[in-house]
């Protein structure tokens, strides 16, 4: 913990946490050069975020999931089933492409853990997806309309006893468990404890323990590679991840179709459920950031984009709780990094409502000139480079486009150069051209 933390304001906390992260405290560097490189790279990001000082140059942090694996000739399946392949590819990618902040290797996940759980919220290589391709989300109505009251009254209980059994086949028996509240008194504890002994529930817990065992082994194998990434001077672009409450409901619980109709059929339930999720999403982001000693909290935004809903609906259903999550993160010294998927051309004015110099918005398809104009001097922006050009273009086109983007978006600071989507694939010559052009034209 940072000295005096409890009595700091949110901006003091952010300054202290960012400074601690950027100093590389706690990392065993390979040498002084690696330490200096780390401090330079993390410093670029710190300066870009805070808007107080123009960085030496624009920090470059392409967001990637499976692209690094593909670039080294491995399949997604190999990476999901062998932590050494995953770790090696991430390490090589980070060094060869010399990114200022690199990907989060555990985001690739470990297939055997999912196998043990009978996980069906996603399809992944070997499970409905070709070996070469990354995982894909399976959106369904996992939470029924009649479940709102349970969810709102007690999200964790709902999550554990209703939602997990519906999305993890090995955990189906958990639906038979009573809530754990009987544990408060000896005479009331029996139903909970006795049910735990029922053979199907024992099997479910065994599956959960086995998944945990495999995951622990996996992270122990992967950890040293992540250690090497840090020790050779490369920070990671997130300490944890969380989500906008509306997206939690829309992605994992109700599904888009149902949630969009809920806006008319049961609007108050949607609002109550989103409100209920705010402290949970803040806590998740802060906890992970603290544990990983990295204040950047990644928030992928999905269902509030242009075209999904009207500004009135965005203002009522999507934005208030996202804003609360962002402010909650900042109050705890973290930096919300919204990954704004799709276009936000109609929404940019709303984004000015968060405290200045405390957040980042990485854009996908938003007009970057407009983003710079509206958010410049208020919040750090980033992204805007089309992944399509990385995949279908040549090095010259990529260089020209990068130069053009920087002219529009870099300003006098407060910009992070990134690709507009989390890359599952890339091409070596274009991605290297992107990195080189960023360093060449991104100098302030």
């Amino acid at each position: 913990m940072i000295a005096g933390w409890e009595n700091m304001s949110s901006s003091q906390k952010q300054e202290a946490f960012l400074a601690k992260w950027a100093s590389g405290e706690g990392i065993e560097f390979a040498g002084d050069e690696a330490r200096a490189s780390y401090q330079y790279r993390a410093g670029l990001i710190k300066d870009a975020v805070q808007l107080k000082k123009t960085p030496d140059r624009v920090p470059i942090a392409p967001i990637a999931v499976f692209a690094p694996i593909m670039l080294y000739g491995y399949s997604a399946k190999q990476a999901m089933y062998d932590p050494h392949i995953l770790g090696k590819a991430c390490l090589d990618y980070t060094r060869d492409y010399d990114v200022d902040a690199t990907m989060i290797p555990p985001m690739v996940m470990h297939g055997p853990v999912l196998d043990a759980l009978g996980y069906h919220l996603y399809k992944w290589p070997g499970h409905g997806i070709k070996d070469e391709q990354g995982y894909q989300f399976v959106e369904k109505e996992y939470m029924k309309a009649g479940d709102y009251d349970h969810f709102i009254a007690d999200p964790t209980d709902y999550w554990f006893r209703v939602w997990l059994p519906r999305t993890h086949s090995a955990l189906e028996p958990l639906a038979q468990m009573p809530p754990l509240y009987g544990t408060m008194e000896l005479p009331m504890a029996a139903p909970w404890l006795c049910t735990l002994g029922a053979p199907p529930i024992q099997e479910a817990y065994k599956a959960l323990l086995e998944a945990g065992r495999i995951a622990f082994e996996w992270i122990q194998a992967l950890g040293p590679y992540m250690g090497q990434i840090l020790s050779s001077g490369y920070p990671m672009y997130a300490g944890s991840a969380t989500k906008a409450p509306f997206d939690v409901l829309g992605d994992s619980f109700r599904g888009t179709t149902q949630l969009m109709m809920d806006l008319y059929r049961r609007p108050q339930k949607v609002l109550d459920a989103c409100d209920r999720l705010v402290p949970l999403m803040v806590g998740m982001g802060v906890g992970g950031a603290m544990a990983n000693n990295n204040p950047l909290v990644f928030i992928p935004l999905h269902k509030g984009a242009d075209g999904f809903m009207s500004n009135e609906q965005f203002e009522k259903f999507y934005w208030p709780t996202l804003k609360k999550v962002m402010i909650g993160l900042a109050d705890n010294g973290c930096v919300p990094v919204c990954f704004v998927e799709g276009g936000y051309n109609q929404r940019l004015e709303y984004l000015t409502e968060v405290p200045e110099g405390q957040s980042v918005f990485i854009f996908d398809r938003t007009d970057m000139a407009k983003a710079r104009k509206i958010l410049g001097g208020k919040s750090c922006i980033g992204g805007g480079f089309p992944v399509s050009l990385i995949i279908t273009g040549d090095a010259q086109q990529v260089e020209a486009e990068t130069k053009k983007l920087l002219e529009v978006a870099a300003g006098d600071g407060g910009y992070i150069l990134s690709i507009g989507c989390a890359m599952d694939e890339a091409r070596e010559h274009t991605l290297k051209a992107f990195m080189q052009a960023g360093k060449k034209y991104g100098k302030y």
């Binding site: 997806i129 894909q136 109709m261 242009d306 009207s310 799709g342 398809r365 089309p386």
Partner: protein, 210 residues
Amino acid sequence: MQDLVKAVADMMEDEAMALTKKYVEQGVPPLQIIDAYKEALGIIGKRFEQCTYFVPELILAGEMMKTASEIIKPVMKGSQGDVEAPRIGRFLLGTVAGDIHDIGKDMVHMLMDINGFEVKDLGVDVPAQRFWDEYKDFQPDIIGMSGLLTLAFESMKEVADGLKEMGVRDKVKVIIGGGQMDEHACKYIGADAFVTDAVAGVNLCKKWVS
């Protein structure tokens, strides 16, 4: 029946369904009720174009149509027509090989249907061969390919290249849709147009067939 038209157009679902039931029970000819729905859909369509209606209204309108059809069906005699508008073109649709995302595709399906296209939806993870086979069978005016992921670029290109080899590329319009579709992807794939939202796609398709 302006009350029904207004209820449907303004997304007052409960009221719209109650009115539909009331008119059916009163013995109003089914075709009159259907006409009211057609009028409402016209208004809804305009609101999409004016960008006052978005995904929630699209989905709810589709749901109201479905429920209304079920209410009206029992009193329909033979094939008196249905709630659908007259057909203005044929549209072959699918999410391309390797991609299992269907929300965008389903919205396009619904919206194209409401706007008078005869839609054949091949589902998700559709191999190129099925697009080619269905092209021959269904003879669409337009082929719509959907994909959220960048891997869709290759799958879409394969379909478009195949249409060229079949010598039919100039006989059919090809439109691609999805979050990462842009002018670079469109050029690479060899599509006629790209869109990133369903309403824009439908408006473009309507222009093509008019």
